[in-house]
């Protein structure tokens, strides 16, 4: 990983991986969509609305995973001052926010037929909503300074503070929920998830992951190219 701190090495490495990642993404998402919409069975309780799960659950998984990656990249950036790590963290954020938004809205669309309401202050939903605000705060902070390195480092600190806050939020909202709302526990998807549903879900989740990896690598490469361009232009102006 530390060899990749060198921008040129990163460009080389990512350049070889990227085509494979892109192909795998297309294949997995294609297969996943086909399985989710045509092959997977309707749920005995929720009917066809369960198909939303194949978009919602992978989004939720990505929302939290991307934040973890963002925090890890931030830690590397703060400790070892790797410029690529800084860029990696900043480029992950919009993607993470996008997955979180998708998770919230598809969850709402799934919740309406299932629970009869567009929103419920359940522990999980509330924690994901807070996660969305953490992403927005991070993006705002990164862009709030004229000097880009200041923004990147400030964002790194915030990302790590946010990591501490995430389990606290989850825990506190769990407590809040069970103390004050007569909770009927809704189990998503039924008692255990049948293999006929598990496979489409797993493939969609894998597809989402590879989509993220592909986009992330591209965006980091893009940012590195922009940096190189700025440097070249400064040289040529001199």
């Amino acid at each position: 990983m530390f060899r990749l701190a060198n921008p040129n090495r990163f460009m080389q490495w990512s350049g070889t991986i990227l085509p494979w990642s892109a192909i795998a993404t297309v294949l997995l998402l294609g297969a996943g969509l086909y399985l989710a919409l045509f092959v997977a069975p309707p749920d005995y309780q929720q009917g066809e609305s369960v198909r939303i799960m194949y978009v919602h659950v992978p989004s939720a998984y990505m929302a939290t995973t991307v934040y973890g990656l963002m925090a890890a990249a931030s830690a590397v950036a703060l400790i070892w001052r790797h410029p690529v790590a800084d860029i990696a963290a900043r480029e992950a954020a919009p993607l993470g926010a996008g997955f979180t938004l998708l998770c919230l809205v598809t969850g709402s669309l799934w919740g309406k037929p299932m629970w009869g309401t567009w929103w419920v202050w359940d522990a999980r939903l509330t924690s994901v909503l807070v996660l969305f605000f953490l992403y927005l705060g991070y993006i705002a902070l990164i862009n709030a300074f004229d000097e880009p390195t200041r923004g990147a480092r400030a964002g790194a600190i915030l990302a790590l503070v946010g990591v501490v806050n995430l389990p606290i939020i989850k825990f506190s909202v769990d407590w809040w929920n069970t103390l004050h709302q007569p909770a009927s526990i809704f189990r998503l998807g039924g008692p255990t998830i049948a293999p006929s549903m598990l496979w489409p879900l797993a493939i969609m989740a894998l597809g989402f992951t590879l989509l993220f990896v592909t986009l992330w690598l591209m965006r980091i490469r893009s940012a590195l190219m922009a940096a190189k361009l700025r440097a070249l232009r400064l040289q040529q102006a001199a």
């Binding site: 978009v55 996008g98 309406k112 965006r219 232009r233």
Partner: protein, 54 residues
């Protein structure tokens, strides 16, 4: 045709299921497009700048 109708109706849940998938396509597709466009633009600019340097 009936099979297509049945599929599109999604057992009565169409107005929940299709917006969910549509949003996924819009958000994720939007990211793909934005990433690709920016990438190509920067690649072109970088190639030009490097050519001018030589």
């Amino acid at each position: 045709m009936e099979a297509l109708d049945h599929f599109l109706a999604m057992g009565g849940y169409a107005r929940f299921v299709w917006p969910a998938y549509a949003l996924a396509v819009i958000v994720l597709g939007g990211f793909v497009i934005e990433t690709l466009v920016t990438y190509r633009k920067r690649q072109r600019a970088l190639d030009e700048a490097e050519k001018r340097r030589r």
